[in-house]
């Protein structure tokens, strides 16, 4: 149980940092129309998905070792799942739009919508399921692990940032 508790908090924290990055990059794109912001927002959204998925799996292992089942509609697990779906829809929207400038603008708008929803989802899940929830106890080792995870998240984001593709010359003919 201790292992799971140790991991899901920093994984969730890193996903939150990546979500904040995606929000700032999306606002940056809408203000400047600089495609580097769009590339950063896309990579940060992928980081949110990857780290939140790992956090949910880690949370499932905590639930399983404590309750003998893989999922409980615990407030934090529910909120994490909905947030994962929110960012999954951002990436689905990206895949559905072909024209690069339209894709970037639409994804930026939807990322802002998704990020605004995160605090509402967390509050709603807590009201919906006020009972016992996964433990969160912030102590120094966890801050240390969060720092390591955040660096890993930053590296993951940097690796996923693609060079902006303003046009497709091979399709022109």
């Amino acid at each position: 149980m201790g292992e799971g508790v140790l991991y899901y908090i920093p994984l969730g924290g890193t996903a939150a940092l990546a979500a904040a990055t995606a929000l700032i990059a999306s606002i940056g794109f809408l203000r400047t129309r600089d495609f580097r912001f769009d590339a950063l927002a896309s990579a940060a959204s992928e980081t949110v998905l990857a780290f939140l998925a790992a956090g949910i799996v880690s949370g499932c292992s905590v639930v399983h070792s404590a309750a003998g089942k893989w999922w409980t509609w615990d407030a934090r697990m529910t909120a994490a799942l909905i947030c994962w779906l929110l960012f999954a829809t951002c990436l689905m929207l990206r895949q559905a739009v072909e024209e690069p400038s339209r894709r970037a603008a639409f994804a930026a708008v939807w990322t802002i919508f998704a990020c605004l929803d995160v605090p509402l989802v967390v509050a709603t899940a807590a009201w919906w399921k006020p009972g016992p929830t996964l433990p969160i106890d912030w102590t120094w080792p966890r801050f240390g692990l969060l720092a390591i995870m955040a660096i890993a998240g930053g590296l993951f984001t940097a690796a996923r940032v693609r060079r902006p593709e303003p046009s497709h010359p091979e399709r022109a003919g």
Binding site: L30, I82, L85, L86, T89, M92, L93, A96, V97, E98, S101, R102, A105, F106, A108, V109, W110, I112, F113, A114, L116, D117, L120, V121, A123, T124, W127, W128
Partner: protein, 226 residues
């Protein structure tokens, strides 16, 4: 022409077009009735436990049926390039959005007000006992559904798989508003008033509606001109 008058003209145009063809509202009503019928296959519709989950059932029906109306909001403008004409018209994107959202809101609310008595009869739920409060919850929940659905309709109007994308986009975003509406509706159709413990849900719905209306009005121009 003032902003609200522009929005009113767009809303009246959309309502007139819909009432002439009745495409969205007929399919939405039929869909709502079919889902209500299918729920009765899944469990005993007259059991007491059904009343406890009736708020959730109703809002699942409203969300599914509402999507059909919302999908048509901007898709209606595709034939004859009407959307380009609307964007080129001297009407701000925000007024266009607000007008379309108001028209969709009235249509979805109409579908709900027809579905509600049918639900009450089929499931033996005395939904009229707290009707003014229930109407308030319907209005707040439907406005949240409509405002997020209308901006999603604008986003998906020109993309692949738009009929699939719109529900995929809006349901996760709508989690706070739909959950609040489900909780309050369950309380009200059971005949109980909204108590002090339920005000948090009401505030959540008001906050959700205010935030997404403001952000949609601010960002819709970006969506329409992209």
């Amino acid at each position: 022409m003032g902003f609200l008058r522009q929005a009113g003209v767009v809303a009246a145009k959309d309502l007139r077009a819909e009432l002439r063809t009745k495409e969205a509202i007929n399919s939405s009503l039929a869909f709502a009735l079919v889902i209500l019928l299918m729920f009765s296959f899944a469990f005993d519709p007259l059991a007491d436990t059904t009343r406890e989950i009736s708020g959730g059932l109703l809002w699942i029906v409203f969300a599914f049926a509402g999507t059909l109306v919302l999908n048509r909001s901007f898709t209606r403008e595709l034939p004859n390039d009407c959307l380009d004409g609307l964007i080129a018209a001297p009407v701000s994107g925000a007024a266009l959005f607000l007008g379309k959202a108001c028209a969709s809101f009235l249509l979805v609310l109409g579908v709900q007000l027809v579905s509600l008595p049918v639900f009450g009869i089929f499931y033996n739920v005395p939904w009229t006992r707290q009707f003014p409060e229930l109407l308030l919850v319907l209005v707040l929940g439907t406005w949240g559904l409509t405002v997020v659905g209308t901006i999603s309709s604008a986003l998906t109007v020109n993309i692949r798989l738009r009929e699939l994308m719109l529900p995929m986009l809006i349901y996760p975003i709508l989690f706070p508003a739909l959950l609040g509406a489900m909780q309050l509706t369950a309380v009200l159709v059971a005949g109980n008033p909204i108590g002090p413990g339920d005000f948090g849900w009401l505030k959540m719905m008001v906050g959700f509606d205010a935030i997404y209306t403001a952000v949609s009005l601010a960002l819709v121009e970006t969506v329409l001109v992209s």
